[in-house]
Assembly symmetry: C2
Homo-oligomer: 292 residues x 2
C-alpha cells in the first residue's frame, strides 16, 4: 500500500518530535487572554504565540474552520496568516467535516488544498464514496473520514446495527471503516475516532491497523488517555494524531498563556509517550534509558 | 406545531410568486459567460443579473458555500455582496452541509445566521442530535437535514437497513427522518431529499407530511419532475423547495444569459405548477380559472 505525502510528513515529524500530539488551533475571542484584546491582529498574535510555544512538541496542527468562519471575512484572512506561521514540514489538518455531491465536493477540495494549502481534511461519510472521490483524488493529501465521533450523541446513528443480506449485522461506524478501507486505493485515507469511546477505538484499530487515526476528545472532552494511546496507536505506537485544543490553548488566561500552553503540550506529549513506551520496549531499555 | 419564521417567509413568497423554484446560486468562473470575465466583480455582476432576472419567479435562493470558498477570501466578499442583492422577504438557504460537535456547531451557526444573515442552512445528520442542537436553537431559522441525497452513491450508507431491538428494520434515511421529526420541537426542521429518488421521496413525504423538503437534483442531475412534484410537495402542493442551479444559471453562455436564465426559471416554475395543479383542483375550477 502506498503512503501519502501527508502520512510521510506525519510520520517524519511524529518521530523527530517524539510526539503524537496535535494542537487544535480553535481560536475563540471569548477565551483568548483578555490583555491581548479580540482584534484580528490580537487573535493572530495569539495563534502565533501558541505555534511558537509548541512547534517542537507536536506531530500536527488542526484548525477547526468553524472558529474562523465565525469571524467573517477577517476570519479567513486570520486562518491564512496562521497557516503561514506554521513550518512547512509540519502537517496541518483542516477540520472542516465537509461533504457534498461530486462537483461541489471538488470545489471544497480546491478551497482547502489549493486555496489554503492544507495537508489533510476531515470529511463526512453520509453521502457515500462518490462524494469523497473528489477529495481522494488529491493523492498527496490526507482524507480523514468521520467514523465514530467524540460527542455524547454519536451513538444515535453511528451505533445503529446495519445489516446486509448474508452478513452479520454490525454497527454503522464499522461499516464506514470497512468502506473507507476500500476507498483507500491511493493510501491517503484515515479515520476520525473519538477518545471518548475506547472500546470502539480498539475495534477500529483492529479493523484498520495501518490507517492514521485522528483522535479528538482528550482534555476538555475528557477521554481516557491510557486507553486512547493503547488502542489508538498502531503496533509501532504511531499513526495516532491525538488532538487537544482548549486544554492547551487556554491553559492560562494570563500573560503566561504561551508558557502554560507549552507546559500543557509537553505534559500531554510526555504522558502519551510514557504509555506508548510501557510495557518496556526492549530496544529502549537496552540503550539504558530506563535503567541505570 | 409552531412554524418558523423561515417557513412563514417560504410559504408567503411561494404563494405570491406561485413558485416552488429555488435558484441555486452556484457561481463557477469556468462556466460564467466569457464576455463577463472572471474577476470577482464580474462574478458579482453575474449573480446580480441572475437574481434580477428571476426574483419574481422563485420561492428561495440557495448558494452552495463550496463555490464561494473555492474563490478564497474574495469568495466570501462575493457571497456577502450577493446576499445583499436579494430582497429581504425572499428566504436564502446556505447549502453548507455543516456538522460538528457542540461548541463548534454553535460557531458554524453564528457564522451562517448572524455573520451572513441566512434564513436556513443544510446540515448533516451523522453526528446525531447534540451536534444539530446548536443550529436548532435558532428558532427563526430553517434547519434542513440531509436525509436521502441526490447523488448516485447515496445508497452506500443511506439505504442500509438498520435494526433496533423489537422494531422492523428500515433504511437509514428513514431512521434519520424519524429522528428529525423528534428534533423538531421548535417547528424549524426540514429534510433534504434528492429528486433522483422518487420512491424514497414519496415514502419520506408520507412520514413527514408537514416538513419543508429541499429537493435538489432536477435539471442537470435529471430527476423526474412529475414524480418530484407529486411526491415531494405536501397535500396542498406546497413546502417543496425544488432547486435548480446549472440549468438556470448557465442556460446560455452568451450575452443573453440573463434572459435565458429567466426563461429557464419560468419554464421550470410553470412545468411544476402544471403538475401540482392537475388533476383539477376543484376550488380553482369553481373560480372559473380553468373553464370559461
Amino acid at each position: 500500500m502506498p503512503v501519502s505525502l501527508f502520512e510521510e510528513k506525519l510520520l517524519d515529524v511524529s518521530r523527530r518530535h517524539a510526539s503524537l500530539v496535535c494542537v487544535g488551533l480553535d481560536v475563540d475571542p471569548s477565551r483568548v487572554p483578555e490583555f491581548l484584546g479580540t482584534e484580528p491582529k490580537s487573535l493572530l498574535a495569539f495563534n502565533r504565540s501558541i505555534i511558537d510555544a509548541t512547534v517542537d512538541l507536536v506531530c500536527a496542527y488542526k484548525p477547526n474552520l468553524a472558529f474562523y468562519e465565525a469571524l467573517g471575512l477577517e476570519g479567513w484572512a486570520l486562518l491564512r496568516a496562521t497557516l503561514a506561521a506554521i513550518p512547512r514540514d509540519i502537517p496541518v489538518i483542516a477540520d472542516a467535516k465537509r461533504e457534498d455531491v461530486g462537483n461541489t465536493a471538488a470545489a471544497y477540495a480546491r478551497a482547502i488544498f489549493e486555496g489554503f494549502g492544507f495537508d489533510a481534511v476531515t470529511v463526512g461519510p453520509y453521502l457515500g464514496e462518490d462524494s469523497v472521490l473528489p477529495f481522494l483524488e488529491w493523492k498527496d493529501k490526507g482524507i480523514l473520514v468521520l467514523c465514530k465521533t467524540s460527542n455524547p450523541g454519536s451513538s444515535e446513528f453511528q451505533d445503529l446495527m446495519v445489516g446486509r443480506p448474508g452478513a452479520e449485522p454490525r454497527p454503522l461506524y464499522e461499516e464506514v471503516a470497512s468502506r473507507v478501507l476500500q476507498w483507500n486505493r491511493h493510501g491517503n485515507c484515515g479515520l476520525v475516532v473519538g477518545a471518548t469511546y475506547p472500546a470502539q477505538l480498539r475495534r477500529l484499530r483492529e479493523m484498520a491497523p495501518d490507517l492514521p487515526f485522528l483522535i479528538p476528545g482528550v482534555g476538555a472532552q475528557a477521554g481516557d488517555l491510557e486507553a486512547t494511546v493503547r488502542f489508538g496507536a498502531d503496533r509501532l505506537g504511531q499513526r495516532a494524531i491525538i488532538n487537544s485544543a482548549r486544554g492547551i490553548l487556554y491553559a492560562s488566561s494570563g500573560r503566561d498563556f504561551a508558557d502554560a500552553a507549552r507546559r500543557a503540550a509537553r505534559e500531554l506529549r510526555d504522558a502519551i509517550n510514557r504509555i506508548r513506551f510501557t510495557p518496556l520496549d526492549l530496544t529502549q531499555t537496552a540503550e539504558g534509558r530506563e535503567r541505570p
